[in-house]
Symmetry: C2
Subunit: 539 residues, 2 copies
């Protein structure tokens, strides 16, 4: 428009680095991170990030270089969300549950310039690196306790804390903002429930916007205290790493957790928000009496990675949690759609019905421009009848830039101008979406589609069942038939016939599991159940 | 980065139109607007906006055209914040307090294609249009009550409601998103306290981001009820017009208001948030016993346009308001910096001290990238000593794109890569900024700078004073000396000497007003006090 000028005074590329810089001045003396005995304020966190960015630059990191890290949810991992982009590099947090072979494959593909390794994963990393053609330079993240007692003969080596401490010229360091806000800020991996993990590229713009949207949907105002139960390697902790400085919140970091530690942390630190997959919800809902503590206030629990079984939601809400069911994937910076609660209509429903409504989702996250369930062939929307199954498709600024080094895969994912998620779902008349399956998990039996999620819901409602997974197993006559793997609650004795009978009373014959085995259900690093191992089960 | 693609699936231009579209699906059945007897839901508001956008397009409005409106805070004005951009046009809301001459000048300069005029301002507009060379096409916004009784002989004319009703093809209308998010969305005028109003250009990007930031700083989660006391013509109501659908809030519109109507609306509609200049705060704090009502809950009161006198803040907070002091101007989409409260340190201070702290501001709004007080000649930051006066300068995505048709003025405003605000302020050691004057209001007396704000603070604390304005008046010896205009509380008798004596006990001799007159203090449309008429007062 005539008279206007775009210049540094009125156009600043969106990047979460701005959140941290502002937090240092607005919330400078508020607690940013509590990590065991370590405790920092936002001005300290800002200084530490500036210091590591200074060190990285001195070590030769430059624009577009990849800096990887293998570490749990500790403060170093958190800080690298800011210090690495401040040096104009791309952060790549690697799932520390990978085996050496997967880790080696991932490192070979991504080829980071530096790899920061927590002491706990040093041996695993060293094993993996033996088969990496151009191994990165290692930087250790030492155990602060054992570091003191280390033998003096240990050769000098790059260490996270020494780098931070030594970077005394940090005050002169000039933060390198992206020139274009769509430049990459991080690589994160698909969770690998269905295939080998693929590196997904996030931008500064997407990270900034998604962080703000996460604050809005989780009502993280004012000053949340966030407990880190979602792994930071998973969608950068659903982008909460970047969101917290925007509201001056406090991060409660932890190397690992249990039901007991979660209840303890909620009480000790006044945790207001946490998140995790349905397996975390299940763990808390079914914690033993000794492990539990009454909640000191309402705690917001964000869940994703699969619809939470209504029974579990019910149990958690009676304890004082409020469950927000979100839906998304690594490709959508975590959350893409959510279950917006309608208190006027739903608060008065019977508890189980309420919990069933919670298991739906599909209303747009504030950043998601469009969400639909479409026929993947015709690209037409399915009718909003609660029955017709289609594929979930999305468009918005929180959709990945693409798959790293795999343009063909990126093109397929964006075909038709929508991101094709690969999940099967129905649309209800009120616009809510109910997920029925990952495309790859779907069971087609006698030419008819059966929802594993619907079968699992019934299994979870059985009083003896702790956890359940339904898979399609090959069948000569019908193509596939449903079978179930069930983990029982402690002290319960397996009664497969009894449970199958329970199912028969509650679902059409064709959906009843043909076979039911008892055992542990493995999980991928993000906590989702890993079904692929069970598909070759025989009926 | 290798493998990535920018495409419609992952890049959507930021525009507040997306908020409305999402509100229609997520908050569809929630109340969007209450305007007297009229009441709408978000899906109705969305439909009405689509209808007007359809009508505008049919009338020949196309990309970049300016559509102006002269109307108070009614639902039509609100809706045009979305319908006009949906037709790819630029919205220009004109201050309805202008006299015919100013209005004529503004219309000649802006040259809108269409002008929507509320029935209340029709005569004024017709007078103004007589001297406009290329007058726009008029569209009436009729009074729904009198419309029915209109004589049938009245010639057919374009009318807002008829356009909305007639646009039956709206379902096929395709919303026209900006191609570039930095395209103009609106023209808004500087408030004109210091000069002729200048049209300032806002972008879709700035509107989107500032709306979100406003939600964050005002803690408008979940579901606020916002009372429209800030005029929509002023910075598009500090961008709250665009913010409300992002959180599914409710707008309480009103043609005009008084202390009584504000207290009534708070009780009747459960208002949670409102805003206005210090004169609004003063009106509420000093409302008569009959006009007041006890607040049903805490009400968030955002104020800007000048530091609120501590005495007034004190009175409001004792009534149950919580005052957030913000600072900004038309050029920064309203709010640029704010007073972030530090409960741990400040809650326990004596009330008057607390109120003085509220009068400071200067901590960055979440969208503001940098804020500083600088020497305008050297561009060096002033020391954070609470004493050295400099000019407030800002950088961020909520800084105007420029002044419409006045590139030279835009260039001057952005000189040195910062937006030069023209306000004089000091920086405190804790980073907070305290405004001392508009540059043009500053008094230089005997070569020394005197803050009119500091003198007014003392006047407001006098028990007889309702409102006060201090101006610099020419003086042969000292250049300028301070003089005061004071409006007394009802029933009080003017005692100029007594008030001057009160000042003498509370400020250095050089700051004491030489002369004090009693009278009304005129305001500009946004509610700020208009000082320029008093400068030729004789001592």
């Amino acid at each position: 428009m005539e008279g206007t000028i775009r210049c540094p005074a009125n156009y600043v590329p969106l990047t979460p680095i701005s959140f941290l810089k502002r937090a240092a001045s607005v919330y400078g003396d508020r607690t940013s991170i509590i990590d065991g005995p370590a405790k920092f304020t936002w001005s300290e966190t800002y200084e530490r990030c500036l210091r590591l960015a200074t060190a990285l630059t001195q070590m030769g990191v430059s624009k577009g270089d990849i800096v990887a890290v293998i570490a749990p949810n500790i403060h170093a991992t958190y800080e690298m969300h800011f210090s690495v982009p401040m040096a104009q590099a791309v952060l790549c947090i690697i799932n520390h549950y990978y085996d050496a072979q997967t880790l080696s494959d991932v490192l070979t593909n991504v080829a980071p310039k530096f790899l920061f390794v927590d002491h706990q994963f040093l041996r695993l990393t060293q094993e993996a690196l033996q088969t990496v053609p151009n191994p990165p330079t290692l930087v250790h993240i030492s155990d602060p306790d054992s570091a003191k007692s280390e033998p003096e003969s240990e050769p000098a080596r790059a260490d996270y804390e020494s780098l931070v401490r030594a970077a005394d010229s940090y005050a002169e360091f000039e933060i390198k903002y992206p020139e274009d806000e769509c430049e990459a800020i991080s690589l994160t991996f698909t969770s690998g429930t269905t295939a080998t993990p693929k590196p997904v590229v996030y931008s500064h713009r997407g990270a900034y916007l998604n962080a703000i949207a996460s604050i809005l949907v989780n009502e993280m105002i004012p000053r949340p205290t966030y407990l880190w139960t979602v792994p930071m390697f998973h969608c950068n902790g659903w982008t909460f790493c970047w969101a917290m400085p925007a509201v001056g919140g406090t991060n409660i970091c932890q190397r690992s957790f249990s039901a007991k530690s979660v209840f303890d942390d909620i009480t000790r630190h006044g945790v207001t928000h946490l998140g995790g997959p349905p397996s975390l919800l299940n763990m808390l809902a079914r914690a033993s009496e000794e492990d539990r503590k009454p909640l000191p206030h309402r705690v917001e629990m964000m869940t994703g990675g699969g619809p939470p079984p209504p029974q579990v939601v019910l149990e958690l809400e009676s304890m004082g949690f409020r469950v927000l069911h979100c839906y998304g994937c690594s490709e959508t910076y975590g959350v893409a759609t959510l279950n917006y609660w309608r208190p006027e209509e739903w608060d008065t429903l019977p508890p189980y019905e309420r919990a069933c409504l919670k298991a739906r989702h599909g209303l747009k996250h504030p950043l998601m421009e469009e969400v639909d369930v479409k026929d993947p062939m015709t690209m037409r929307s399915v009718p909003a009848d609660g029955v017709t199954v289609g594929e979930v498709m999305l468009r918005g600024n929180n959709v990945l830039l693409g798959y790293y080094k795999d343009r063909a895969k990126s093109e397929r994912a964006f075909e038709g101008g929508w991101f094709r998620h690969g999940d099967l779902a129905v649309k209800h008349p009120d616009g809510y979406i109910e997920m029925k399956d990952r495309k790859v998990d779907a069971i087609v039996s006698g030419g008819e589609y059966l929802s594993t999620v619907d079968i699992e819901k019934v299994l979870y409602s059985h009083p003896d069942v702790f956890e359940a997974a339904v898979v399609g197993v090959k069948d000569e006559e019908l193509g596939q038939v449903p079978c179930a793997v069930v983990k029982l609650k402690e002290g319960k004795v397996g009664d497969a016939e009894g449970i199958i009978g329970y199912c028969k009373e509650r679902m059409p014959e064709k959906m009843v599991p043909r076979k039911l085995v008892f055992g542990e259900i493995p999980r991928v690093g993000s906590g989702k159940l890993q079904k692929k191992g069970f598909r070759d089960m025989s009926v």
